[in-house]
């Protein structure tokens, strides 16, 4: 399907952000996904989040693998460079782009097939390296472009549109992240922009690998009875207890929040993340209790959403490698070349 340029219809003056840009400036081409696809709602949340953050589009690089979800970077932030790469390999390519230019805000979009089957090794190692990037899994439990095969995230008992119910244990990206030492783990639902937008903003501020698993129903192949990734199932089984607010560093914090289990975490860049409502005994900075909480709810067929785990104390890939504050790609090559005197000198080591 070709990408279609979105017609710019003049509307009543739209609000602008700190850069004087309207939300339209963060949009991309017209989506060619199925009408009602959950992925389009995630696209809308991404547009909203980056517009609210007032991030210059040129500072963003969008990367994806292959699949329905991976087509979406063309539908948002047209002013950013984008790379629709190969199936499962986006995390590796993003790692290289991060190495070359740490000034970029990297936004990776992937799917459950891309991330949890063919690319699970790269995802696991990008988490381990703590590459500073936002990594969104648009998780629908099926392979859409090849017409509805179940993916590795399909729950036991899930029935594909055609064929037998799944009997193999699913891979939960949040559990994977917890065991790989992830520093930012969130789950959301494509139908819940109100929850997803602050999570995306917090993910951008996070100093490391921010994994967001977004359950995103496939209206064509996985929205029927017997699916655990359908709109109806998620709406009926979602446990939305970990509610967060993200306050950028430049905004004055005026909102006072309370309620049960409220706590704040200061992000690496000074911005503040508030867990407005967390269930009793839930500590989003304690790996063990997070895992126990999610597992407990899973046993009851419930899907816990929200920013589930956060560790701001970890070192990102660049800190571990002691790379300079600015992009390696911007250092002129002749400054990197040691020159003839050094080589002449070095030659005595080879005598």
């Amino acid at each position: 399907m070709p990408s279609i340029t979105k017609p710019l219809i003049p509307l009543a003056p739209l609000p602008t952000n700190d850069l004087g840009l309207t939300i339209r400036d963060y949009e991309g081409a017209m989506s060619t996904l199925c009408a009602g696809c959950g992925h389009d709602s995630i696209t809308a949340a991404i547009v909203q989040a980056f517009w609210e953050l007032a991030m210059p589009p040129r500072d963003i690089a969008k990367l994806s693998g292959i699949g329905c979800s991976s087509k979406t970077p063309t539908y948002f932030i047209r002013g950013a460079h984008g790379f629709n790469s190969a199936h499962g390999r986006m995390a590796a390519i993003a790692t290289g782009a991060a190495a070359a230019n740490r000034e970029l805000t990297l936004l990776g979009v992937s799917g459950d097939g891309d991330s949890l089957s063919i690319g699970i090794g790269h995802l696991a190692h990008a988490i381990r390296r703590n590459v500073k990037m936002v990594y969104v899994i648009e998780n629908n439990g099926v392979y859409g472009l090849t017409k509805g095969q179940l993916s590795a995230s399909a729950d036991i008992g899930t029935r594909p549109k055609k064929g037998e119910a799944n009997v193999i244990a699913p891979i939960d990206p949040i559990m994977l992240g917890l065991s790989m030492g992830a520093t930012f783990l969130a789950r959301s639902f494509s139908g819940d922009k109100e929850q997803l937008v602050p999570i995306l903003k917090a993910a951008v501020a996070h100093n490391g690998f921010a994994l967001i698993d977004v359950i995103s129903p496939c209206v064509t192949f996985n929205d029927h009875e017997g699916s655990t990734k359908s709109y109806r199932f998620v709406r009926e089984h979602e446990v939305k207890e970990v509610v967060t607010d993200y306050v950028p560093v430049r905004e004055e914090i005026t909102a006072t929040v309370g309620g049960r289990g409220s706590r704040t975490v200061t992000m690496h860049d000074g911005s503040v993340l508030t867990f407005r409502a967390t269930p009793e005994g839930y500590d989003p900075t304690n790996r063990l209790s997070v895992e126990a909480y999610i597992r407990d709810h899973q046993r009851h067929g419930e899907v816990v959403t929200g920013l589930l785990y956060l560790d701001e104390s970890g070192s990102s890939m660049h800190e571990v490698n002691h790379t300079p504050a600015h992009a390696l790609a911007k250092i002129p090559v002749d400054r990197l070349c040691p020159g003839s005197a050094v080589l002449d000198d070095l030659m005595s080591d080879f005598r």
């Binding site: 460079h81 590796a92 790692t95 070349c337 040691p338």
Partner: protein, 612 residues
């Protein structure tokens, strides 16, 4: 005491082979001997023929000394240093008639192994070390230095020079320095006392290496990447390429570290690394990292061997089609499959030329030795950015892991780097509109922008079908327009890759075409053939796509041999496919057992064919 009466003396023209047990520390003793001969100004080579094993299996080292510079591997061994009882039979059997065998006579030698045409030189190395050294590990290690001492005496190597080299090596460890000197002296004195030293083949000082160095290709490759300004590297450990990245890491730690002054009075200065080397989870990730780095504008590379290239194929197609600069060092080993990881071969030529599915074609460079490896390595980064495409440095284990005597590496500070067409924000400001693949230059390359540049230059690249502007397409004509340009772009690189090296002889009707590490053996073979009345011209292919001179060379000879180290004649096939030379106009001479090539093998193959 020297008695040469009745013996033919050969100075600076012989070969020795040392048979050892892997993991016993013999490599440093063998390397020491080669280095000493090099320091005496004599052309020399050392070939390590080692097993894929950490400890226990047989391993060999060959040293060839040749004052005329013929230092390809020789199969005529004048002296066998038999230090491995497991292989006595094979080793004693392989010495040339009239040659010598040095062995450890702490234990008696099986009478069945004796040869009437070979002189046995027994030295009680084990006994000697048992009596002189206390620690068990030292007794094993010092045996190596003791036999080196004996060889120093037997070959007439400058003993003071060797003692000096040991002192340099162990400058910081007095205990080890003394043990080594003692072992050297033990072996040396025993030889002088018991044998006629030196042997009829021996060394004598020359002045042919004072402007040379002793270096392996993997180190040279790393130096090339350093000098080319590479900053991002993704890699996965694999023999025989691992040392490329090990060396690059070491060099970067010395030459790419700088101190950034403190920003405020309360801050302290920090040390930063102007590089990022990532050991990946597999070769797919390694090349993925390189693609990401290249796309984002850093000079990026990987080092690997055949199995790694197999895994990288999919992303190499992506880099080719989306036009991302990528440099790969492929230190070839013996395939297929795991093959023989510690043996050399040139069998990835076709794999690399056409790596990936669909219509792909890549730029290949074929260095012959570490010096060319350094020079071509720098060149490969320029080519990758000039043509926005993957470039393969096709080395092999022989080049990568053996020490070679080559002229000193030089750097011209006036050299400029070719970064290819990249648009800056200022360039973009003067443009009406930017499209990634539009307005290609004379070499069919379109200017790119880098992520982070002005939004006017933002583009979306994809491995799926795109048109001449970079927009998604499934239209036949638009798709073909792009892949046809990529073909023309590849062809344009023929004028940029290193030109073939051609050496001519008067009246030659025979042509010898070869590549890479076959260089010295084939050049020596041409000399030997001339002595046998066959004048042969020489051409060494140094890059792909092929320069037109290659076709002209083949067409202008009655008989052309293509000499290469693989089973299927891959260079010959590629020449037929891509240079338009009929396959039947070239005869293959193929050597693919896994050891470096020798001139004798080439001469035999050529003469056998010409006589037939």
């Amino acid at each position: 005491m020297t008695i040469d009466a009745g013996r033919e003396v050969r100075v600076n023209d012989f070969a020795i082979k040392l048979a050892n047990v892997n993991g016993t520390g013999s490599a440093s003793a063998n390397g020491l001997l080669m280095q000493a001969i090099f320091r005496m100004g004599i052309p020399v080579s050392g070939k390590n023929l080692f097993p894929s094993n950490i400890q226990g299996l047989p391993t060999w080292y060959e040293i060839r000394v040749n004052g005329d510079g013929h230092t390809a591997r020789s199969l005529e061994y004048d002296l066998m240093v038999a230090m491995n009882a497991q292989t006595y039979g094979e080793d004693i059997g392989s010495v040339r008639s009239g040659g010598y065998v040095l062995y450890d006579d702490s234990w008696p030698l099986d009478a069945a192994l004796l040869r009437p045409d070979v002189t046995l030189l027994g030295v009680p190395f084990a006994k000697m070390c048992l009596e002189n050294f206390a620690k068990p590990r030292e007794r094993i290690l010092m045996k190596n230095i003791a036999y080196a001492g004996t060889i120093v005496a037997l070959l007439g190597i400058d003993a003071d020079l060797v003692a000096g080299l040991l002192a340099e090596t162990f400058a910081r460890n007095e205990a080890l320095r003394e043990s080594n000197q003692k072992a050297l002296r033990l072996g040396y004195d025993y030889a002088v006392e018991h044998f006629e030293c030196p042997l009829p083949f021996r060394v004598a000082p020359m002045d042919k290496t004072s402007d040379h160095i002793l270096i392996d290709g993997n180190t040279a490759a790393a130096l090339g990447a350093l000098y080319a300004g590479a900053t991002v590297a993704g890699w996965y450990p694999i023999t025989p390429a691992t040392a490329v990245m090990d060396n690059f890491t070491k060099l970067c730690a010395t030459y790419r570290r700088r101190t950034v002054p403190a920003e405020g009075p309360d801050e302290s200065p920090t040390v930063v690394n102007d590089y990022c080397i990532i050991q990946a989870e597999d070769e797919i990730a390694a090349i993925g990292i390189v693609l990401g780095g290249g796309w984002a504008g850093a000079r990026s590379f990987t080092s690997t061997s055949g199995p790694g290239i197999s895994l990288m194929n999919e992303l190499l197609g992506l880099a080719y089609y989306t036009e991302i600069p990528v440099v790969l060092f492929n230190v070839q080993r013996t395939g297929p499959s795991t093959g023989m990881p510690t043996r050399t071969q040139q069998a990835d030529i076709l794999l690399c030329a056409y790596a990936s599915h669909g219509d792909t074609k890549h730029i290949l460079l074929f260095p012959a030795d570490p010096k060319e490896t350094f020079e071509f390595a720098v060149e490969s980064f320029d080519l990758a950015e000039h043509f926005q495409t993957p470039v393969f440095m096709l080395m092999d284990l022989d080049i990568g892991m053996n020490d070679w005597v080559v002229p000193r590496l030089r750097w011209d500070d006036a050299r400029t780097f070719d970064r290819g067409p990249v648009l800056t924000d200022e360039d973009l400001a003067g443009m009406k509109e930017f499209f990634r693949y539009a307005n290609a230059n004379a070499d069919h390359v379109a200017a790119r922008t880098l992520p982070g540049s002005d939004s006017k230059g933002a583009y979306f690249i994809r491995g799926s079908g795109h048109d001449a502007f970079g927009r998604y397409t499934e239209r036949p004509d638009e798709y073909q327009e792009v892949v046809d340009r990529l073909k023309a772009k590849h062809a344009a690189a023929a004028a940029y890759v290193p030109a073939p090296m051609i050496l001519r002889r008067d009246g030659a009707r025979v042509g010898l075409v070869t590549l890479g590490s076959c260089d010295l053996a084939v050049r020596e073979a041409a000399d030997l053939l001339a002595e046998r009345g066959v004048a042969a011209d020489y051409l060494r292919v140094r890059g792909f796509p092929f320069a037109p001179e290659i076709r002209e060379f083949i067409e202008s000879h009655d008989h052309c041999f293509v000499i290469e180290q693989n089973r299927d004649g891959q260079l010959r096939s590629l020449l037929a496919l891509e240079a338009g030379v009929p396959l039947t106009s070239m005869t293959s001479a193929l050597f693919y057992g896994g050891f470096p090539l020798s001139a004798g093998q080439v001469v035999d193959a050529v003469l056998e064919n010409l006589e037939a």
